[in-house]
Amino acid sequence: MKGLSSRYAFCMGFVLGTCTLYVLLQQLFDPRISPQLPRGVENPDTPVVVGRENPSTRPHGHRAKEADRYIADELYKKVRILCWVMTGPNNLQKKARHVKATWTRHCNVVVFMSSVTDPDFPTIGLGTKEGRDQLYWKTIKAFHYALEKHGDEADWFLKADDDTYVVLDNLRWILANYTPEEPIYFGKRFKPYTKQGYMSGGAGYVLSKEALKRFVEAFRTKTCTHTTPVEDMALGQCMEKVGVRAGDSRDTLLRETFHPFVPETHLTGKFSKSFWYWAYCYYPIVEASGPQCCSDLAVSFHYVNANLMYLLEYYTYHLRAFGYKYRYEPPLPKALSGPEKVGEGLEEAGVEPGPKAMGRMSAEQGAEPPNVPETRR
C-alpha cells in the first residue's frame, strides 16, 4: 500500500516537473523572435539617456526621452532666459496653470504677472487693475520688476501671454547668435505704426538685457511714457526711440519662428486677400498655408488653449519617428561655435560646426542705428 502511493506520488511529481519546465522553456524561447536578437530584458524603469550626463542641476527636468541633451544643456547655461507670463486672477486655473505645467519649465526663471499677488500659484501682483486697457501698464511694471528683482539671473527677458506656447530650446538657438549687451529684441515682426516694425504681443517677444535696461531707463527719464494700452505697438515705438533694434527671428531658410496663430491656422488656414495679416507681416510670407509656413525650429504659437498646450508639449518633446533624420540642418549658433568651443561634446552629439550664421546676421552686428529706414522687401 505504502509503496504504491509512493510510486504514484513520484509519477505525479515527474509529470508536473516536466510540464512546468516545458512551459518555462516556451516562455523564454519564443521561436517567432529572431534568434540573433534575444528578446532581452525589458527595461520598465527610467529611460536611458545617451551621452553626457547633465552636470548642472535642473529644476525643470522635462526631457525628450532617450535624447542626448548635451547641446540643449550648454545653451541653457549660456543663454539664460527669464520668462514672464501675462495673466490675471480669473485665468490662473483656466489658462496659466497649463502654461506652468508645460513650456515654462524650460525657462531659467519664470514669473507669472497678475494684477494681484497670489502666494499659492504663485503670481506677482503688479498693482494694476485687470482688463485690456491695462495691458501696457502691466507690461511696463512687469519689465521693471524683472530687471529689478531678477536682472542678474538672466540675459534675455521674454514676455508671453497665458495662451502663448514657446519652445525655449529653439529660442535659445536664435539668441545664441547675439549677446545680451546688444540693444536688440525679437518676436513676430509686424510692419505698421513704426519705422522698423514692432513685435506681436501674443506671439511673444524677447528683449536683450541692454534693451531692457534702456526700456526701464526711458521711463525714468520720461523718454517713454504710457501712450496707449496697445502694449505691443507701444513697446515697439519705445524701443525705436531708445535705439533698440528690431531683430530678424527667421531661420536660415527665411521661415518664421514666432507665430501669431495656432499651428493648424498656419499649416492649413485659408486667408482671404483682405485679411489684415497680409498687410501686417514685415517679411514676405514664404508659404501662407502649408508646411513651409513655419520653421522646424518654431519658437511660438498664440491662441493656444489648454489642450493644445499639452499637445504641443507632446509633439515637441515626446512623440517622434524612430530612426528618422530631420531634413532641416540648422547651423551651430555663434555661442557654441566661437573660440570657447565646447569641444568633443559636439562630436559626440553628432553635430558638425555648420557654416557661420547667414550673412545678414553678421551684417546686423555692425548695423546702423535703427532710425535709418531699412530696405523693405
Partner: protein, 328 residues
C-alpha cells in the same frame, strides 16, 4: 489514535518526498531533452495554446549590442506595404494620407469601394467592408514583391511608419504575426480595425489560404449574424493558428490608438492634471484615429518637423526620409 495519525503522517511524508523526487527528476529530464534536441516547441499544430498576447517593441539594449552590419541589414530588411482603404466620401482623408504619412510606406496602395475621378486607387467595386478587406489583402499578397510586412488601415487613420518598423524590427515575418490594438468579444480576441492592423507575410499567406474555405471564412459573413469585419478577420486567422497581439512599447503602453491625439490629451487632462503628457500616449505611438485632415497635417508637422534644438537621438538604426516626401 495517535499512532494511526503518526502512521498516516509518515505515509504522507514518504509520499511527499517521492513527489518531490519525481518533480526534480521530471524537470531535469525535460531540461536535458530540450538541450540535447535543440527543442523549439512548435506552435502550428496547437491553436489552443497561446501564451503571448502582447508584443513589445525592442528595447534600446536589444539593439545596442548588434554589430553595425546587422543593424544596416535590419533597417533595410523591414519594409512595409500599406493597404489603405478609402471611399469617395473620404476624399479629404485620401488627399491628406497621400500627402502625409503614406509617403513613408515602402509601398502605399489605396483601395476604393467604387471608382472616383479624384482618387487614384485600386477599384474593388465592393460596398461590403469585409469583402473589401478580403480583396485588398489578396491583392496586396499577390503584389507584395519582396515586402514582408503589411499594414492595413482606413484613410481616416494616421500612422507613423517608422515606429511601426521599430515594433516589428526583431520579429521574423516568416512567423505569423497579427498585431494592433486588441479587444475581446466573448472568447474571440481581435485587433481593432480603426487603429490599423499589422500582418506578417506568413499571417497573410495563411489568411489568403483560408479565404478559399467558404465554411470557415465566408465572403459575405453569415447571413443571420453578421460579424464586423475586424472580428471576421480574427475568426479566419484563428482557424490557421494566428492570434491577435497587442502592440506595446517597452513600458507596456499601447502603440495603436483608436482615438485622436486631441481627445486622448483631453482625457488625460480630466483624469490626472498633474501628468497630462506622461499619462497620455506613448512616445513611439504608431497610430491615431478620428482626427480631421487638418489635425493630421499638424501631427505631420509635429512629428517630422517641429523639434527642440539641441536634443539629439542616437538611434541605432536610421530610416531615411523617402524620396519626394517634402511634407516632412
Amino acid at each position: 489514535m495517535y499512532e494511526s495519525c503518526c502512521h498516516t503522517g509518515l505515509n504522507m511524508l514518504a509520499e511527499g518526498s517521492s513527489f518531490f523526487k519525481g518533480l526534480l527528476l521530471g524537470s531535469i529530464f525535460c531540461l536535458v531533452v530540450s538541450l540535447l534536441g535543440n527543442f523549439t516547441p512548435s506552435w502550428q499544430s496547437s491553436p489552443g495554446i497561446h501564451l503571448h498576447h502582447h508584443i513589445k517593441a525592442p528595447s534600446k539594449e536589444d539593439l545596442q549590442g548588434l554589430p553595425e552590419t546587422q543593424k544596416l541589414e535590419l533597417s533595410l530588411r523591414v519594409r512595409v506595404y500599406c493597404a489603405i482603404m478609402v471611399q469617395p466620401k473620404d476624399l479629404a482623408y485620401y488627399l491628406t494620407a497621400k500627402d502625409t504619412w503614406s509617403k513613408h510606406c515602402d509601398r502605399a496602395e489605396f483601395y476604393t469601394s467604387e471608382s472616383s475621378k479624384a482618387i487614384e486607387a485600386v477599384n474593388l467595386q465592393e460596398q461590403d467592408e469585409w469583402a473589401r478587406i478580403r480583396k485588398a489583402l489578396t491583392h496586396a499578397y499577390n503584389n507584395a514583391g519582396d515586402l514582408r510586412w503589411f499594414f492595413v488601415a482606413r484613410a481616416t487613420t494616421f500612422a507613423i511608419i517608422e515606429n511601426l518598423k521599430y515594433l516589428v524590427l526583431d520579429k521574423d515575418p516568416r512567423q505569423p504575426f497579427y498585431i494592433g490594438r486588441t479587444a475581446k468579444s466573448g472568447e474571440l480576441e481581435y485587433v481593432e480595425f480603426t487603429s490599423g492592423i499589422i500582418l506578417s507575410y506568413e499571417a497573410l499567406r495563411r489568411l489568403t489560404e483560408v479565404f478559399d474555405d467558404t465554411e470557415k471564412c465566408p465572403e459575405r459573413g453569415r447571413a443571420l449574424w453578421k460579424l464586423s469585419e475586424e472580428k471576421q478577420l480574427a475568426e479566419c486567422l484563428k482557424y490557421r493558428g494566428v492570434f491577435a497581439e497587442n502592440g506595446e512599447d517597452t513600458q507596456g503602453k499601447g502603440l495603436f490608438n483608436s482615438k485622436s491625439v486631441n481627445s486622448l490629451i483631453a482625457d488625460s487632462l480630466d483624469q490626472d492634471p498633474a501628468d497630462v503628457v506622461e499619462n497620455c500616449c506613448s512616445d513611439m505611438a504608431i497610430t491615431f484615429s478620428g482626427m480631421t485632415p487638418n489635425q493630421m497635417q499638424v501631427m505631420m508637422f509635429g512629428i517630422y518637423r517641429l523639434h527642440p534644438y539641441g536634443h539629439t537621438f542616437h538611434d541605432s538604426l536610421v530610416f531615411l526620409p523617402p524620396v519626394g516626401s517634402e511634407n516632412d
